[in-house]
Symmetry: C2
């Protein structure tokens, strides 16, 4: 995840309500994408799992979880110190 | 996850400090288990990912993430109403 440029079919999950990200995923699939990647770090990881579950259970029941990867990223804290934060990548596919 | 009996090599991740669960995993592996399963629900999902990352990066570098599954479970809320909660299962193996 070193790249700065975020691919078109990637949804970065943060602090907004889950439905914002659900809508982003559904829009990507409806625009013809066969794969959508959800990415999140830290506390937002639980949120990304919620989004994936809502998409495939409530909106697009033909969508499957193709792959899930976890990793550790280094981020800079408020005082410039380095901190490790866990990250998740959930690949949804039709 | 309907079973009430929790298999020996399952670590249920909740609200304790991450290190408690890391220690539980490391102990299982040191007792000869080749696989340890981390399970968590709701907000504890992020915590389970932290635990998995700490185990494999800091303690047992020969341990790999073999599989990750996400699901939705139905739990009963305080007032008896049913709520859906996301869950994760991370399988670590040597």
């Amino acid at each position: 995840m070193a790249e700065k440029q975020v691919a078109e079919n990637v949804v970065l999950v943060g602090k907004k309500p889950a439905m914002s990200y659900v809508l982003a995923c559904v829009t990507q699939f409806n625009n013809g994408k066969n794969e959508v990647v959800l990415r999140a770090r830290g506390r937002a990881i639980s949120h990304a799992v919620d989004v994936a579950e809502i998409v495939r259970n409530k909106f697009l029941t033909d969508v499957k979880v193709k792959d899930i990867k976890i990793s550790t990223e280094e981020v800079e804290g408020e005082n410039g110190e380095k901190m490790n934060v866990s990250a998740i990548e959930i690949v949804l596919s039709k």
